[in-house]
Symmetry: C2
Subunit: 351 residues, 2 copies
């Protein structure tokens, strides 16, 4: 098999600390299973923006398009407004490459303490399937009377049948390989144009999967259920914003959001997919070498799975499990004192 | 003092079971403190809608407008689309009466088990101040190509300077009586027109309260902090949708959302305010007489506070505390077997 061409974008803050650990583990598993990579590093970040006024060069998307996958750390830094950094890099990549599924596993591991009382591994184990290209994240809208007493801001949320159907289909197909149970996150009682439409499409999609268990909850009570009844869920399908919320809340219930990975996928593989941890650049702990690299490492595992290496994916997951449950190194978020690289090394060695 | 004119709308499902308990406690505290009421009952509900095609009569708002306050149970029932029931009753009342603050306390009581490990009363004790008249809940937008392959739905979120400023001001003034700490819920990295505007207004409002502690979090990580660090919060100010989510999630971390009250307030008292529990009509447990009436009873306390009876409010809160921490009756959501009326009676007697 030819080498996989991987674009590597460490980004900002702890992104630059966890990406090397991710690469370390990719190397280890590559040696074991005979997988070759060709890595290209990009320095696209807030620093670059401060120097040049742009996050990526004009032909940035074109430069990435020759790759099989994108391995991203985190973007964003104090001093650069978040909407500038994110709409300058992360969101255009998701959209230009039609990465319409943002897949985010939520799982409680043995050896990690959940903030929920008495929850055991196995009781929290589900996927959030987040729509990633439309919905509440839109560039439509703007300001009226800016700077005056009558200032106002309007923003349009856009849901299309094509956009909703394809992410729901992905969710059902994922559930087919798991518990055949799909939960829809809605808010059709308050958000009266887009969310009733979302519900209609869910009703329609259910018909193609007649033996599945399905349910739906309004986003407000759904967040409550994530805390009170995490064992109710198998696959949760959600809009861009609701999926964003649920995929931070879910990992928080598993003890640390630092272990949560994500796959921004173009399932048809027409364009490169992008793999990144759920956490951000974490300015508060950046530069200390104490952040947890598991979210990045697990994102690497998802990348290998997407590229067809199921066994390599599984080997990384087993290594993560073993290190977490054994007396292995623990970073501060896990209650220990280990360094980022200690945890990365331990996982690489376990492989 | 003249009798307070209270409009009572039990609504649907458990709304009709908890409202009588709320009235029972209002009566008890009224006898104790010499407060008189004049209650008018309205049968506005999904049942009425099924019979007549409307939730409230054409002059419904006018009928309510002569009252000092509205005491609402819950609205919504299977068979009536949620957006029809809520936009037919609850949301018009909030808007026509300019109830622009939705105030929702979150508090862990002694005697109630939190789903969070090792959290003690005192560690969860904050207010969500929710914008209640604009934002993500809007009637602007609609469908295009309905029913075709190219079907799409658009909805406009609207934030105005007046709307944002007044709810933020309320939040700061509330915090002035508490810990002088205000947290803003935002998502200015993803929602690029309205949320950066929200942030701008927060920056501006801070200037009028120079000795306050302030912070802001994106809604995704904020939900994680509600679970991992509930002790970080004092007053959280949020948009209509974000406030809706946070005020279900917060109470879930205190053991049961059934105890959570809310006050839909027009702080200037130009129009009647409305008091209702955070929970809905709960079709799954309705009709069994086992639902927890504390959310409704506490909403009654907030109503009395708004009407100027601080001591009556406090007496109800003390009674709720005592019954919860003592060996008093517990409904199933609290881990007991008591009936709705057992709990209502116990609180009324404690007063
Ligand atoms: C029923 C629904 C429209 C309502 C809301 O979202 O405002 C409810 O969830 C609430 O919190 O009062
Ligand atoms: C940084 C931000 C724009 C982004 C999002 O909201 O999509 C992040 O929270 C995520 O979940 O990937």
């Amino acid at each position: 098999m030819a080498a996989h061409k991987i674009a590597v974008i460490p980004g900002d803050g702890i992104g630059t600390e966890v990406v090397p650990e991710g690469l370390k583990v990719l190397d280890a598993v590559g040696r074991k299973f005979g997988i070759d990579y060709e890595f290209t590093h990009f320095d696209w970040s807030c620093e670059r923006y401060k120097d040049t006024g742009e996050f990526m060069p004009k032909d940035g998307i074109e430069q990435l398009s020759g790759h099989d996958a994108i391995f991203l750390g985190a973007v964003g830094w104090p001093g650069v407004p978040d909407h500038v950094s994110l709409w300058g890099l992360l969101i255009p990549i998701r959209r230009e490459f039609d990465q319409y599924v943002n897949l985010r596993p939520v799982r409680l591991f043995e050896g990690v303490r959940s903030p929920l009382a008495d929850r055991k591994p196995g009781e929290i184990d589900y996927y959030v399937v987040r729509e990633n290209c439309e919905g509440e994240y839109s560039a439509m809208g703007g300001r009226h009377n800016r700077g005056t007493e009558h200032d106002m801001a309007i923003q349009e949320t856009v849901f299309t049948r094509r956009g909703v159907d394809r992410v729901m289909k992905f969710a059902f197909e994922l559930a087919a390989k798991r518990g055949k149970h799909v939960t829809s996150a809605t808010k059709s009682n308050g958000i009266i144009h887009t969310m009733p439409f979302w519900d209609e499409r869910f009703e329609e999609m259910k018909k193609s999967f007649p033996d599945f268990k399905t349910d739906q909850f309004h986003i407000d009570i759904l967040t409550a259920h994530f805390v009170q009844h995490p064992d109710w869920f198998d696959v949760v399908v959600a809009s861009n914003l609701f999926g964003d919320i649920l995929s931070d809340l879910g990992p928080a219930t598993t003890g640390t959001i630092a272990i949560a990975p994500s796959a921004n996928m173009n399932p048809e593989r027409k364009y490169p997919s992008m793999f990144e941890p759920v956490h951000g650049s974490a300015p508060d702990i950046a530069g200390k070498g104490i952040c947890n690299p598991i979210g990045q490492i697990w994102s690497g595992a998802m990348m290998l799975q997407h590229l067809g290496h199921q066994e390599a994916h599984d080997a990384i997951l087993v290594a993560i499990e073993e290190v977490l449950k054994g007396g292995g190194p623990k970073t501060p978020d896990l209650g220990g004192q280990a360094k980022t690289s200690d945890l990365g090394n331990a996982i690489a060695e376990a492989i």
